[in-house]
Amino acid sequence: MRKLIEFKNIVKSFDDSLVLKGINLSIHENEFVTLLGPSGCGKTTLLRILGGFISQNEGHVYFDDIEISNVPPYKREINTVFQRYALFPHMNVHDNIAFGLHIKKQDKQMIEQKVKKMLKLVNLQGYEDRPVTLLSGGQQQRVAIARALVNEPMVLLLDEPLGALDLKLRKEMQVELKKIQQEVGITFIYVTHDQEEALTMSDTIVVMNNGEIQQIGSPTDIYNEPENRFVADFIGESNILEGVMLEDYKVKFDDQTFECVDYGFEDNLEVDIVLRPEDIDIVPLDMGRIKGVIKSAIFKGVHFEVVVETPYREWIIHTTDKVELDKEVGLHFFPEDIHIMYKMGTY
């Protein structure tokens, strides 16, 4: 895939606070990229810099190998779906979608055709004459997407577009957005703080925190091979522990030595270790590698969230089996379930 957008050492501060601390990132054609992070991590700021609504203090933005830092937003081949949609309240659905085409002074018949096509794409046929103020959140969302896509941009920016919708609608729209992206075949850059949303839709996830990129990778990479404690903690629930890498394939934590599949660390290096709750099994006492007592079990729908207490810590375990409270049990996991990470700031 061809490289379409490149951020080079982007620095941005508001007043005295540094929001972006030197971001380097490349985005390719047809890629669904998600900028993921807690609020205040700088993800929306990065998106706005790309849209041209704010400018960076340092660094360069390249689009198709051309520097666009000084190009005003209305001359960029990028369209945005805004956080609260920002539909024009004085226009109906049709005129909102046709806005960009009218500005480009396109032929009337052409406009009609394209608007029709877009309404079909977002499943809103027959809504042309509705005032946008009378639409539901989900419908406004679709109009906002249609209004952006009708201009046939090379890149679509989406700024937490599903934030205002309820859970069920959000899940539907996630699937639909992914479908739309595959249909129109353009680059989507999606900003969210919802890790599940990111895992569901993205080709590439960029995890950000405190104005820095923590990890770039596919959803499975990010989930299974988090690079540090922050990523592991932010993406899904985890047991994160501290330990020592004795030598290749051997890690020590909770005063026991375990076999693992990681290598290439310095001997006796202090590391962070992740064990996902669904990778740990509760087994009879004598079959476990760690022994503990079941403290609580909360029914979560598909699974139980079980807390097992050992002398060292509390473990979170997801299991579909019913468990008995206060029972002494063993915990079992395989070497490949242990994931070793460098401590933050040591690599």
């Binding site: 990028i78 369209n79 920002a86 024009f88 500005i103 201009n151």
Partner: protein
């Protein structure tokens, strides 16, 4: 809340006594001949017929013309000012709005007197002209002076009501417009202007209605011969002593004001329906 309902009663009494009763008296006067006694009224429509004299109609038309031009000038001058204020930093917005409203703290009569001393033959402006060696200008008792006084007095209302709407305008809409390829001018014409119409309309109400019936400004800055409908009414009551005719003109005026209020309200409703917001409604 219910307990507070009875608190409205003194106001009702106050309003009936000092607003409704005098208004009824005006209606009574308008429909009767002069020389009424307390018990016997002689009803007539003559007072109204009398108004349809070319001389008076001309005064009415002149009043409408002056009010209309005042309103237009207020929009033309006020809109850019409101726009600039609405786009200033929050701190300067407060300061600028304060500056705009500051003159309103002083009585309108006093402010109009101030204009006399600025515009009169030996006044500030002519002294300045003389000082830099330019010929003197006749400024007082001209259309220019009246218009200046009117615009000066009513401009703040226009600015404030447009500013209120512009300041509330969602900046994301402007970003969205840029995002869709519209340059700043196109964005203004297609997004900002249509969305700020409710503010312009309430501004029109706030400027046109008082402007059409004002009598202080034309009297002081236009001189005795400058006759607008407000002055005509004032004359009938104070100089001529024709209370019946004066009341009839007042009623005609009230009718015109009501009609134009209904018109602007309808425009306002249409505009807010289109923008889907409650923006710009000052009442």
């Amino acid at each position: 809340m219910k307990g507070y309902a009875s608190l409205v009663k003194p106001y009702i009494l106050w309003m009936s006594l000092f607003i409704v009763v005098p208004m009824l008296l005006i209606v009574l006067y308008a429909f009767t001949t002069s020389g009424n006694e307390l018990i016997s009224f002689r009803f007539t429509l003559d007072n109204f017929f009398r108004f349809f004299d070319p001389v008076f109609i001309k005064v009415l038309l002149k009043s409408l013309e002056v009010a209309l031009i005042t309103t237009l000038l207020c929009i033309i001058i006020g809109y850019p000012i409101a726009y600039i204020i609405a786009n200033a930093s929050e701190k300067s917005q407060t300061l600028l709005i304060l500056l705009i409203t500051l003159p309103m703290w002083i009585n309108m009569l006093v402010r109009t007197y101030a204009w006399i001393s600025i515009l009169s033959d030996g006044g500030l402006l002519n002294s300045l002209l003389g000082f830099i060696g330019l010929p003197q200008m006749k400024l007082m008792y001209t259309d220019f002076a009246v218009m200046l006084g009117m615009v000066y007095n009513f401009l703040p209302f226009m600015i404030i009501s447009i500013y209120t709407v512009l300041a509330k305008l969602d900046k994301a809409l402007i970003h969205a417009s840029h995002d869709l390829g519209a340059n700043p001018l196109q964005t203004f014409l297609r997004v900002v202007l249509p969305l700020s119409l409710p503010g312009v309309i309430s501004g029109i109400t706030l400027v046109f209605l008082p402007a059409v019936s004002t009598f202080v400004i034309p009297k002081f800055l236009g001189g005795g011969q400058y006759m607008l409908i407000g002055n005509l009414i004032e004359n009938q009551f104070i100089t001529v002593g024709e209370w019946n005719f004066g009341s009839a003109i007042s009623l005609i005026m009230a009718f015109i004001i009501m009609a134009s209020m209904m018109m602007t309200r309808k425009m306002d409703r249409d505009a807010s329906e289109n923008t889907g917001s409650e923006g710009g409604k000052l009442w």
